[in-house]
């Protein structure tokens, strides 16, 4: 049998990393910029981000949060304070040292006379500057809880950037909240992790495992860090969102205090939580296939694309009118509480070029309209989630023009749910829970390495070691490029012995490879 021909030049099974690069380019999501390590997010990619943003923002507001905006630059002495109190403090950050360029013999250079007295750091995160504001804003228990979110760009100097997954600059939101007591702060930490889990699963159609990060994977300074982890099609884990309970650690370092009801001066309990444009990388690696992206309808900038057939750059008037009528009807329909997003692509290009463009971009429904469809009053379409028949041909479907309008919303719901079901199935099928010893872990990955695309994860019973014992475990895993991902909230019924130490296990931890 001849090799099937796909729309991407690299297949997932050949080289997943190259496939990823190819799909980002072919779906026109983003590109490498002339600024080292930074990306240009193109309209289709940014449109996805806008939909993710809008959904998250609505949920943040429904849970009582308000948006603010804090400065891009953080004075070095703020960073100094953080470095003094936080172990494992990262020092890779963009440093602004001058505020003017000067032309010397026609060549620009930082003007020595415009050197800043104190360098400024481009925010890698805003804990310090927001914490300082909180210390000013909070006086009394009446000011609590204080629930703030910020949408912003942040910068972390990455040496090996990859579009959406790890770039020098990325877009994110960071929630920062202050509470009167531990219970309220822990509830907030869990509530926001729950928001992330719901958005990942219900909106991005990406199955995630939620749980607590292990000790050495905590955010520096946090009491506990929780995350959602998603399994990509190559079996690696993507940490897709984190929520931190910071105890009173940051409040003590930054003087975030309040007068309690009974007159005492207390430190606030604080939290922080964030997701970023990395989520788009997760969507790509969860749902893409060898023909391109497959977008869950809830985050598809266009859900239904209508392609009028053209001859010599012209569209027959009856075809054009048919398309307008169809779009008009679809514009009146809703799915997931929003009007359908429908687009007629009238670009002067060949029908095949346009069709495959939209296949690669992952539009959920692609409708082609030609004179024969108009004459027959029929709509011919492709479902992006079921693009091909078993023999590799395009799986065209058709129905009456009126019928399509009636069933469009239902089709989109079906696609959304179908995409999630695949992600859920794949995740469940590739978590090995029958592990009793570290030899089992090694055997599991050894058996899969080089043979399957989805080595997946192992759920490993352990005694939750700390200190040197924990580092020994991590070092052992590192030899097989493995790491501790998360201790899932959903735990197995029985545990047995710790796979690393032979002691009694107290919980099970997910082990796998990660982005």
């Amino acid at each position: 049998m001849a090799k099937k021909k796909f729309a991407l030049s690299v297949q997932r099974s050949e080289n997943f990393a190259d496939w990823y690069q190819d799909i980002v380019r072919a779906a026109d999501l983003a590109e490498v910029s002339p600024t080292r390590g930074c990306m240009i997010i193109k309209p289709w990619g940014y449109g996805i981000w806008e939909l993710i943003q809008a959904d998250l923002d609505r949920r943040f507001k429904e849970t009582g949060h308000q948006n603010c905006y804090f400065p891009l630059f953080i004075p070095q002495d703020f960073i100094q304070k953080e470095a003094d109190h936080v172990e494992g403090f990262a020092k890779e950050m963009a440093v602004v040292t001058h505020h003017r360029l000067k032309s010397v013999d026609g060549q620009l250079q930082p003007d020595p006379e415009a050197k800043l007295e104190q360098p400024l750091v481009v925010r890698p995160t805003s804990e310090t500057i927001i914490g300082h504001a909180f210390s000013q804003w909070i006086q009394s228990h009446r000011d609590l809880p204080l629930l703030i979110n910020q949408w912003a760009n942040v910068v972390r100097w990455e040496m090996r950037p990859r579009l959406f997954l790890r770039t020098v600059e990325f877009l994110w939101q960071e929630g920062h909240t202050a509470h009167a007591d531990q219970q309220d702060a822990v509830e907030e930490t869990m509530r926001m992790l729950g928001v992330y889990r719901d958005v990942a699963q219900d909106v991005l159609a990406m199955k995630v495992i939620d749980g607590e990060k292990t000790e050495n994977e905590r955010f520096p300074g946090a009491v506990s860090t929780y995350s959602i982890e998603a399994m990509m099609q190559d079996g690696k884990a993507l940490q897709a969102g984190t929520s931190h309970y910071l105890g009173t650690n940051f409040a003590q370092a930054q003087g975030i205090q309040y007068n309690s009801k009974d007159g005492g001066l207390e430190f606030c309990h604080t939290t922080s939580w964030g997701v970023s444009t990395r989520l788009i990388g997760g969507v790509i690696m969860s749902h893409g296939d060898d023909d391109g992206l497959r977008l869950p309808p809830r985050i598809a900038p266009q859900q239904i694309v209508i392609l009028p057939m053209m001859r010599n750059g012209e569209t027959a008037p009856e075809v054009s009118e048919f398309c307008d009528r169809l779009k008009g009807e679809l514009d009146g329909k809703e799915v997931y509480g929003s009007r359908l997003r429908t687009f007629i692509d009238r670009k002067d290009a060949s029908g095949a070029d346009k069709r495959w463009d939209w296949v690669r971009k992952g539009a959920p429904l692609i409708v082609e309209v030609g004179p024969r469809d108009v004459a027959d009053g029929k709509v011919t379409f492709l479902r992006r989630d079921a693009l091909r028949t078993d023999d590799g041909k395009l799986a065209w479907q058709s129905c009456g023009g009126d019928e399509f309008g009636t069933m469009a919303s239902g089709l989109l719901t079906e696609i959304q749910e179908g995409i999630f079901a695949r992600s859920e199935q794949r995740t469940q099928n590739n978590i090995e829970s029958g592990i009793t010893s570290y030899a089992d872990v090694e055997a599991y990955f050894a058996a899969k390495d080089g043979k399957e695309n989805v080595p997946g994860w192992t759920l490993v019973p352990w005694c939750k070691p700390t200190g040197a014992e924990l580092i020994a475990v991590e070092d052992q895993l590192k030899k097989s490029q493995l790491s501790l991902r998360v201790t899932p909230f959903e735990q197995p019924a029985s545990l047995g012995q710790c796979a690393f130490t032979g002691k009694d296990a107290v919980e099970a931890v997910l082990v796998g490879r990660a982005y």
Copy 2:
């Protein structure tokens, strides 16, 4: 008569600049940050920005634009190229020179080993980096027009920052478009200026004068620059939005070319246009009074605030229920195509404190609910745009509970229109058009200086001088702190002589003081 007591500590007539500072603080819009020259935009201020953004964004999309995101950092050699081709190029910008901090004796400093080979500039605007992308993206006439917008933060090193009006970092949008010919590009330039005018007037309720900037006020490198100028209550002009037709100047410098239909290689005609968080400064100085901000309902984060009366920190159950019922009813209503934004403020604070908080913040309608209102089935409210009676007392109004729900949308429309009418009236009343000589200009401002809050502008016939003659005019104006604002599209029927040179006038130009 005793001096009236107002909610702000400074009155406009006493010191407009201090009043501005006071209202920004008292309305809880923004504050100075520990990072020199940068601001923290607080929830009420950011909420206003979100509404302005949403309205603009909808209009950008309706006119065919797509959002993208380009890097924060621009390599110095891009800036070099711009400096080489643009006269009047500004060099005040934040320069990133290192990518790591290093701890030396416990003190952080830029790590000499992490010095960048080439400095990076924090974008003051994105012409160069977007132009470079355009040169890659555009091949054929089929790729045109290319209509891109970006929402972003930008940085310009300001020595005398003022919140919202002039800060080191600010938020804005920048539109960048490329077209096949001059006509299409000029139409785009005008269309987007029109969008700005409509948003300023219809949404921000701020009367603006649209027109062309004079030669030396053009964006460096532009063929023509257009702006909307708004008159603040102190008579100064605020340039509130600009739209530039760039000809092929930037396309030539950046190689933005396309293959035309007849096979030739042509330079694109490009445009750019932007508005920023400065608009919020305009709203404050247009509509604020001595009791605080007055927000046009279309950009009020909360349009109707309901204050349940409390006794000893408790609200009577029937009062609380009445408030919930009222909010429930209002939530079902719309104004300007959006659901009413209604908020019940249950904060544990005195009724007077809460009332005056919302007066200062400028909520359009403030409803107070006490046990007597509930017993009478009445709603007692304040209109922020008509807060006081002639003798300075609060102008309480009341109506039946059902009636309020029915009339709320209408009241908000009335407030929106009323606020615009005042701004329009004030602008029209304070443009002196009977100018025939420069002596008239001086006399006009001399007569007003120190006496009135609104010296306003003069509409001056001139011969549209260029070169040295234009500089002489500007220098003369500068002596009276005046400047050329804009040549309005709406010109007087007759012109007479140039007020500066005595030659025949060819048009009339607005002259005034400016922010």
